[in-house]
Symmetry: none
Subunit: 171 residues, 4 copies
DNA sequence: CATGAATGAGGGTTCATTCAT
DNA sequence: CATGAATGAACCCTCATTCAT
């Protein structure tokens, strides 16, 4: 296909951006929602969240050629498009917030944990994989499991000598 | 300053990239190392790690105008430059690995936790803030504290009913 | 036509150089070959050579706007292109050498005359016209005739008193 | 020396051109005049002309790094400079014309030969060497001798069967 | 006298876009 | 629908020139 031919289907590059970006966002949203739904009602909330992580990460890394540029390119798009995209992201964020809130309500996540920062922590860790994760040499599942373990169970050693005891200095 | 003026100081756009990218990397490395060192010997490992998070995040977000484009631009740089940059990242990664390993040796992080994925989780969460964090409306410290709490202590509710026990049927 | 438009047809300035230079060379080669061929079999070798001179000179000077820059520009072209061009020149040189050799074999040029320097003498004289010849004020034919007379018959006075004998004082 | 430093000595690039081009012209003029003069009064006119050819060619090819660009660059210079340079060339041309005319007056060159075209023929052949002559593999003297032989004695075979006899067709 | 630094015009090139076919 | 061709703005870069020191 020649460059000029695009303009029969789209009226500008930004319109293509729009199409492409929202498709990407929609795909990830749908895949994650679908994967979680497939788990059925009997899964624990933690299982659902791990399932969401896995679905998100898999799509991201399997379609890396698509998602890596897309995330870089968004910033150059014109404002109306960026807003629309933020909408989508926001919708998608709500999906995660629901997952996390449900877990919290069910007692699988502590009350003191704030949902939004937790969501950003998780999605940040997941999205950043585009910059470094090597699918060839490390299984996606394993990384998901490690995030889950760290985030849910915590990295801290079992409560022997409380690290707290030392002085809590510096700003 | 006019576009042409740059070429007195640099011989090509890529050389500017190189300078800019490596300066950015060096600055962050130095700032984090320096901040941790200032803590002194009496700090717990967790405190050192929180301090590193804070230093990293502060530089990233205070010089956002610099770091946001830089992270997007790297991919367009010519290979030799990208390699050099990976070196720097690697060096910086080792700084974090040392912090985390020391914590693990000191018993502040569980033996089962793998250091590299943990580092990637933390740095991913930190770096991704460039995409969403709003310095005006939320204090950096607080986000650092939340990451730390989640990552160290875990998001899981206190060990009353083990989440695992819930498992019944699953899909 | 705008500058940018060229890049639909060529991928770089050097490619344009290449096209332009080789077309120029090809045209001159073809025109000269064709003109000589049109002369038919009955022409003397001298006539053929004069005809080649005329064809060469006419194209050069009628398309001066093209050939004058082209000859200046070649030196700035990248090596592979320069080599290719030397090939063409070499081919063209062989055309002249054939004309001259045939004349020599037929006894129209003395045995002692070396063909290559003779060719370079003639082509040098012809090509240098780009620097000075004024088509408006002097007929091309006449210059060709003068070159021919000089080169074939020699500028020397008829062999009455051998030039050597003249040696007296002079200046 | 830095680029800017030139502007203490010259006020523009064209002024440097001017200096450089006229120096080049002057040098060649002087060298040729001097060489001919050194020959003394007893030389034949042909010897003087050969000597001029040799001096011209030697300077041109020994200082090729200078003369080759100079001849290409002249055309890009501003009009006043080009005019001045034409003056110099003209002066130099007169030197040659004198040599040739003297030879003609002395009977060493036939009356029918026109001096100016002859001069242009000779200088064209000499100057064009910048484009092809390989000093490493061929002696300058020998080429001079060959030009001289061709131009003075003519390339034509001794008058046996007059080439003329054939029909003088075409054109 | 020389240099370091800046400037701005212009050249080579890319790229989003347009348009006739 | 698609293509070949052209456009013009913008980018990277060079180079003649200027100027303060």
């Amino acid at each position: 296909m020649q460059a000029g031919s695009l303009y029969y289907h789209f009226s500008s590059k930004d319109e293509i951006f729009d199409e492409v970006l929202s498709t990407g966002m929609r795909n990830i949203h749908e895949k994650v929602a679908h994967a979680v739904q497939l788990l059925g009602e009997n899964a624990t909330h933690r299982e659902r969240i791990e399932c969401a992580m896995k679905a998100h990460l898999e799509l991201l890394l399997m379609k890396r050629e698509y998602y890596a540029p897309a995330s870089r390119v968004l910033v150059h798009a014109p404002e109306p498009l960026v807003s629309r995209h933020r909408e989508f992201r926001h919708e998608y964020g709500k999906l995660w917030d629901r997952l996390l809130q449900d877990a919290q309500k069910a007692g699988e996540i502590r009350k003191e944990i704030k949902i939004v920062p937790l969501r950003m922590l998780i999605l940040g860790a997941l999205n950043w994989t585009l910059e470094w994760f090597d699918v060839e040499h490390y299984p996606i599942d394993k990384f998901v499991q490690q995030i889950s373990t760290t985030v849910f169970d915590g990295a801290k050693a079992a409560a022997t000598a409380p690290a707290r005891s030392v002085r809590r200095s510096a700003r």
